[in-house]
Point group: C2
Chain length 546, copies 2
Amino acid sequence: MAKPKKTPRPKAETPKGFRDYFGAEVTQRAEMLRKIAGVYHRYGFDALESSGVETVEALGKFLPDVDRPNEGVFAWQEDADADKPGDWLALRYDLTAPLARVYAQHRNDLPTPYRRYAMGPVWRNEKPGPGRFRQFYQCDADTVGAPSVAADAEICAMLADCLEEVGIERGDYIVRVNNRKVLNGVMEVAGVLDPSDPDKFAAERGIVLRAIDKLDRLGVEGVRALLGEGRKDDSGDFTDGAGLTDTQADVIMRFVDANDEVDRRILLGRQSESGDEATGSFELPSAVNLSPELEETIHIASAHARNKLVVDYLAGIVEDSHTGKEGVAELVTIYELVESQGYLADRIRIDPSVVRGLGYYTGPVFEAELTFEIKDDKGRVRNFGSVAGGGRYDDLVKRFTGQEVPATGVSIGVDRLLAALHAKGRLTSDTVGPVVVTVMDKARMADYQAMVAELRQAGIRAEVYLGNPKNFGNQLKYADRRGSPVAVIAGGDEFDSGMIQIKDLILGAKIAENATLEEWKDRPSQYEVPRSDLVAKVREILELER
Amino acid sequence: MAKPKKTPRPKAETPKGFRDYFGAEVTQRAEMLRKIAGVYHRYGFDALESSGVETVEALGKFLPDVDRPNEGVFAWQEDADADKPGDWLALRYDLTAPLARVYAQHRNDLPTPYRRYAMGPVWRNEKPGPGRFRQFYQCDADTVGAPSVAADAEICAMLADCLEEVGIERGDYIVRVNNRKVLNGVMEVAGVLDPSDPDKFAAERGIVLRAIDKLDRLGVEGVRALLGEGRKDDSGDFTDGAGLTDTQADVIMRFVDANDEVDRRILLGRQSESGDEATGSFELPSAVNLSPELEETIHIASAHARNKLVVDYLAGIVEDSHTGKEGVAELVTIYELVESQGYLADRIRIDPSVVRGLGYYTGPVFEAELTFEIKDDKGRVRNFGSVAGGGRYDDLVKRFTGQEVPATGVSIGVDRLLAALHAKGRLTSDTVGPVVVTVMDKARMADYQAMVAELRQAGIRAEVYLGNPKNFGNQLKYADRRGSPVAVIAGGDEFDSGMIQIKDLILGAKIAENATLEEWKDRPSQYEVPRSDLVAKVREILELER
């Protein structure tokens, strides 16, 4: 008989694009999700958890990248039943498509409007890249069944609250709000959208939207080139343009220029077209050193004035488009509603440069950006950028029920937000390790276990060393690796005399690092105490080192 | 041209065997996981989160049901690369197989021993049934790299702590501990295990293990029948037996009888074979009404005595098997270690009837059972049963590295535990709804938003009604459906006078239910207060109704 083939050992590897999260990475994310859930809850949102698996039929074709509607999901076919082929199932790629399915399925049992939040992993079958994973967390809140833009305004305010709740300080973020209807109005005015035939100019519109979205990266010149004939990038590659005439491109560029123009108006104190005094604009020479007090005054004044100046400017561009005017009116309602709750333009800002990739948005769109600078992997300074986004999507439930159901929502990228807090030094990678009770005498294991039990019952994280106790040095190395603040040592002598040794490992490490420092000479890092003082002494050291 | 086919609407349904969780179902589970994580953390365990997707190669064939090693997972093949076929990927079916992969992959960066906990969904591609889902939560803690049974003992103590932490009272659960080595020793003595040829008698051993596992359901007679020729059940179906001789079956039956025999010995005060006085056995007539004090004394005495009596009895059965004696010695160590921490046999009990299905266990096995009775869906009284289980599995990492790595761990079934707390009335399905600010005048939306903002800033859950405000009755129906404790009402009159109406909905509901009760006649359920008293008055009502 042939010798049975040896099976090769399996490779111990995650699939490509997946990763493991350890210790603080897990607990900090859980803590962040808990805080965000707390804000969502306070705003009246209820928790929903659907499963990771949906039918491909229910998920539909609303994948984020509009160019590849059928790709991007992990999917498989169920085994065939006796009489019919198995369903195609897939891992959810976001939390919005499942919400549409849930709402359509359970709508008779749910309140209207239905405010729900959901948090959990989603999966994308995409080419993995550095920092780009095929499983990641989303943390969403959506309101289904509320047609009023008050629902959008509420979500923008809630988003600002969430960012502050997890530790992003006021001034370090901005929630930027735009409206698809304004974008459509601008395109209508420019002649790249025909309201009577929405499919006309679709390709041109796609190029225009993508060009606007690249303003940050390409600048005004680059966008202008993409609107016209096209653009050659630094590598020499050529990107086709939308082929707009100069007149058409001028309309788009006026729109693209909105932010800069408003900034100029605020700084130079020019009166906006509307001439409304409530805008708080004022005269100011452009190149002056300002006192901190004056800067603060300008900040508040411009926060009050800015949103109004922006919508007035936009209204001027889209005055010939019904859709565009409707969009501007919605933006006015949004900023008025959030201002009534105390959120001025320094936190929630009307900003025409927000595009958002997803095809399904139909009204207001919003994005939270962190405004502080960080250094990237290569040491270059850059803005941290977007950590959350969302908007109104009134057509998603209709797929199932045939009835249009208005909906709006936001998705917070918790992993990016965690990275931001790390970059700002607000989170450390360390968790406090356990007190380690070392093992000098294997036969005394019951005594060591009794010690850790006492510590734990006092709420102190503690463990017995459970490796091979022969080499005591290994036990202290282990304690070091675990980040243990304290080691407890008890051998035969100690048990005879009823005493134990308690070693302050944090102080010990400090002394080892700075052996010359006089102040530590008088402070011992190891104590002998009666066994009965175990908990009290350990607690004393922990409080001292905190 | 042919008319384009109308696409039929997608069905709004979860895939078969999956479900959605709403509101309190989600938050109560999250809260339970947080509490269990707290206990795991206190015992020195670190969090680990691996992805839901693994390579089929890494997951291996350790599926729980040993009869169908290749089935049971959701799997699919990746797209082929230029030169080689795509990997097969699958959803994890438990958290242990991924741990083995993680440890093998990262072992040089992890402490040894490595204590880790993990919680999250797992997926089983099985036929769904009532209450049986294809995605469910697991919540595991494992120690990798600790050969000593002190690690097993620690996990048993931690399991007891977890149950109490989530609200299972002492006396309502028992952690039952057995050892695969004892089972093997018994089979060796009975002649259905040949240590020199472990593959011999494999089928018989399978039948014997399954028979022992069915003791609860089939009783002593049923088990005996399965050890011999086989058994015809009530429906007339015949199950083949292991075909053991009477002498062989007697050995197994002595083992199966262990619990009952020990109970008899404790109650009748017979001296155990060892005659050890420390067992605390005592004389007692069998049919006497006992005072509560005496019952308590017996309870404590038997809790002290029981584990020793059981292992003595087991030692008597396996005295001719090296493996069996080793297993008994391990059980002695385990109960001594947990007793040193205060866990007696009323919480952690050596119990030979624990088998645990999984093929990979190699030493101690344990199971947490809830001992209180509940009524099932059909109104029948039954024991709630198992909510957690685990054991030692020393071979799982070896698949990857070739080196044997000792490991032991536990998995808590949080969904069953939640069901148990519901059955005991310790959890209600309701969450407190938000305060609802109703909309009497759409144009005043900014004022209503300012009210909810104030409430939220005071930490009170609150929302504006965002549905169509035309029908005020619908707004109150909505508040009712949401379980709102308070509704705020302000229309034109109120705004003019600077007053608002605050309606106590909980009291209102009570009055509606018991309209005759005198005591409520004097207590109004609706108040008119100045706008500036909004937060204070709402808080007052919430505190009153709590």
